[in-house]
Symmetry: D2
Subunit: 361 residues, 4 copies
């Protein structure tokens, strides 16, 4: 169960960073949606390693193969299995990790949980696992646009790297601007500073974290559920399940705690026959359900745990020891996290749209 | 599905704020756990309205009745149904809400989703729904202590109200201190200031938000799952499903984004035969799985939406109009949110402990 | 989980035969369906004890109370909780069962599983548990007729009691005929013989089994899923979950094993623009999906385990011993099983109709 | 969801008969279970086409590749993905089916449900889908023997083909005898007659059905759940989800309807400190929970729908027409159904064993 996500649009990912490959099975996809491998590849290419000088140089084309569920270019309604082979695995780089736990990685906790772990690379905890999520999200976006939200836009960007904060307006930011720079932000001046900082960090064998912000525009009202499966709760879970994510906030978020109710409430008004709010501190969600305004949220990503300097740690046989990072890693996960965030948002929305369709017709 | 939570320890809550009552069905509870209504009532009393001068004066004893699943003082392993009747419902206070949407409440979104809503009180979006969660958590804590973590401590407190920040050490804070003041914080000087501010807000018909922090101590390593059901993801979802919660962060959280990897990583060392970390920026969770250190997280709660002043809004028939808040409400949700946060933490942990037991014996 | 059924129309039943009561929570019900307690009571009255001279004389009105999810006579889309109190419990009749396992009952297996059991009556294994199913099915039928199958008919009847076989045509049998006789069959001559046999059995302190047949008419094609959730698989599970059910067959069933493919296949033809089959050995389901023909299936019910004569058994402390049945029981479960079978059929169909609606619009 | 099975040991199958291949993802597998492709291949070879002169001649080696979840010969606790490529697909044999629905196949119902179908072969309704189930069951059996039932035996056999009934004692039948004959029954004299009949049917372009019986020996008491997830209900669903299965009965089954309670009840007695029953009309399950006796059940399989003679049918554009079967098919599905039945039994038991471990540990 731990590798499945969603109720009606359910994805099951599988695979380790070093092994036969990684992939996903999508169950519950509506039929007659046009789909081919090239559609998916566009999204995978935004996520793949080696795409720029500020991400990991691991050389993976991440080419996907659709194994089932599609016939003559259209979905059948049956499970869609997608496979990406691991090509550039270099387990020899990890031989020291066989016996030592990397600090702030999942090595120790996997060992504590399972009594065994694939020590070649990150195993299941590797960001390669997100390939299946991104591939599934290509399908989710197609469903959303075909059946529920024709003009849907899901755009994420790097809001900050360390203390460099981008000036981006969620209501107007566009996808092309974000994609125009390798750090994936909507503020080109901040982009230069962020790229420079990441390069410095990489040069020092160090790493850096930051914040990703995401907006979902043109969402119909009514998506989300009362109580446990509130839209913000499912978005939060989705985002916090991404590697290195340490925090999530929607709308006014933590900053909203400093406001009074009188300042914070979003007044309603009518505009062109639609119920609108004058401000959007709710972040597009009220009582767990979308209200038609832009859905806005932010995620905190910690600095990459793999750094190229000696660190204190312990060995598998419980001795104090030291370990120096090796392998190919991102000095900053944020540029590649952007498509993952968009992917998780699409998966959550698609599942809720199908749920809404089932219950409320 | 939207009203169920958990995989193996699964709770299903039901009920509206004005109607026959509220309750919960707990499925998957292990047998032979001692349980009676008085055990549950202790936790419900911390959540109930009217408990102090800074919370809503609605007069509800919130007395629970166990309807099934317990025999001669012990759980049977079969579903435990718990019922709390609504007593002090005053639907007449809500008559204006029949036709007008309260700003930043769930009125409009429920109407948009379902085409119908119980306009008497908050309906399903009322915090009364959390009675079932708190009652179920009493059972969850008993299971955790009986089978998985005998010395488990789950303690939440108000970390801030508006800009008043409490100075509380998660490693040492104790339950009795938190319970000794009506705002439920671990810093008695801050408590006085918080209480004063809340009273001022109530006097002005306004409201205020803040942050709740929570620590879970004496958790065994190995709880949580890779990928989607990471422990922080399930905790995040649990917390974001609470009314008025707008943000969640674990360990270093958003502040961790300002650190480099070298500063942020938690070095391992051995202590008394146990693997420990010297710092705890991970917040007790690595790769989605508990590492045995204290689990620490924080939640943002927005200011209560109901305020006693005129606000712009729209009517059910889509006309611009005005509405002034009525009814009995908390000027600040945080004191009563504290037991809800602890409850959700217990539910998440219990479910993951049972899952760990099933897979990893 | 074991007490929940359905994916989108999900019911969770709770309660023991002796205790506070029994009930159900229905999650996922569409909004704006007219519903009140009288609607449900009609179905509960067909299931209740004491309704005729051939069923158990336990005196229960089985009056239901809707606790949530309905407002001003319409469903809200939120969970519907329904409660029926136990009134005529007589635990003293069961004192001997405290220490002895009744043969072919669930006493021993519950004890083996849980290490504890409610020995007052059947506990969770009592047919009283089905009250929640029948109540939920009232709602399911309303949804099916309102949204998916306006002319839907679900009719079950007693096909045989011991070797007395009723001559009933599933294509034409009507509800009123079945309800016109206390054994609930569609063949009035067989009814007399069945009633006589059941009375003889009751007089001898013995019991008898039989077969229930069920037809579902006016089902749209397309309900059901490939692979695991085939419509016949979900119907089979639903029926085999009823107390005392030992077998299930659909369409030609076990008798179809004696035919060749040439004899067994159902030829297609067009009629009034609809795809029809000339025979119906498929029982209205092909490849797990309804084809629009009548769905027909049969269930085997064993003779009631409680009999009024001395039987060999063992005690809780594992000594050979003897036990003579006491308490109030049905000499034949079939007349009261008929509404339970219809209820389970409605629950399965409603869930699949909502699933079909979600995926295939 | 429709392609997933199980709660804690959850398998998700995917794939069509003509396409990239078929496979399965297994989630929830305990770690440190020895597993390699050769283990799985043993079971797949019993299921594969072309294994004898009485089954379909389609030439598929059905060689499996484990893509994830196994490291150095042991399970990791993470999802196990298994892939089998389709090799001998001959879509040209199906060109006529593009426009005509095969009687008693899933062609029409898939089209009615999805508005699209893969007409090359059986698509998702093909028995090739069961490859994933059989592969997953290899893992399930290993878990059961390693953790819950060291001496577990699951043996199925052909009980009858048309009116030829094998004389087999479920308490003593052995696996080697069943595997010693190509029809897979435990009565060698009946085997010869069955084989002869199947050859005659194949020669006539006709097909034949029959009954498979299965015994599970050395099951611990306590597996199964009250109410909906009764062990017989989950076994029934599992079996009715197999292609061509039309009926399921456990223990005394339909024949038990002819007995009185006095005849049918299974008296308890003590033997070597174990609670036993003198007869086993319950089929090893009471109240939905295993009692430690042999679990015995039977399944009805209809005659194969594909026959080599002209049949009435309708076309995709709703015209009456005729169709003559082509392609390579089994004249009788039963010999290859035997390993599928054992596989489904193993999947159900493993899931319930893990559930029992979680709750009652």
């Amino acid at each position: 169960m731990s590798s499945s996500f969603g109720n009606l649009f359910r994805i099951s990912t599988w695979g380790e960073s070093h092994g036969g490959g990684v992939g996903v099975v999508i169950d519950g996809c509506p039929p007659n949606i046009e789909l081919n491998e090239a559609d998916i590849q566009v999204d995978l290419d935004r996520r793949k390693p080696g795409q720029s000088e500020i991400v990991t140089p691991r050389d993976e084309a991440d080419q996907c193969e659709i194994l089932s569920g599609v016939f003559e270019g259209k979905t059948l309604g049956t499970p869609i299995a997608i496979l990406v082979r691991n090509k550039d695995a270099r387990p020899e780089a990890y031989s020291e990790m066989k016996d030592k736990f990397r600090p702030s990685h999942a090595d120790y906790t996997y060992q504590a949980k399972y009594g065994i772990r694939n020590w070649q690379g990150g195993g299941r905890a590797s960001a390669r696992e997100t390939i299946g999520r991104v591939a599934a999200a290509t399908v989710a976006k197609k469903i959303l646009r075909a059946r529920f939200a024709p003009d849907l836009e899901i755009i994420a960007w790097v809001k900050s790297v360390s203390d460099i904060v981008a000036d981006v307006d969620p209501d107007t930011v566009d996808f092309d601007t974000v994609e125009s720079n390798i750090v994936r932000t909507g503020d080109l001046q901040a982009a230069d500073k962020m790229i420079e900082l990441i390069k410095i960090m990489r040069g020092e064998g160090n790493s850096v974290g930051g914040v990703v912000e995401c907006v979902i525009r043109q969402v119909p009202p009514g998506l989300g559920e009362p109580v446990f499966d509130k839209l913000e709760a499912d978005l939060g879970k989705a985002m916090l399940s991404l590697p290195a994510c340490k925090g999530f906030e929607v709308g006014s978020g933590f900053a909203g705690c400093l406001m009074t109710g009188r300042e914070h409430n979003d007044p309603y008004y009518m505009e062109d026959g639609r119920v609108r709010t004058r401000s959007n501190r709710s972040g597009g969600i009220q009582g767990g359900i979308s209200n038609g305004e832009n859905i806005i949220f932010r995620l905190a990503f910690k600095p990459t745990a793999t750094i190229m300097s000696a660190q204190q740690t312990v060995s598998s046989d419980h001795q104090d020891t030291e370990l120096t990072g090796r392998g190919r890693h991102d000095p900053c996960v944020l540029p590649r996290a952007v498509p993952m965030v968009e992917a998780m948002a699409a998966l959550v929305l698609c599942d809720h749209a199908l749920r809404q369709s089932a219950q409320n017709g």
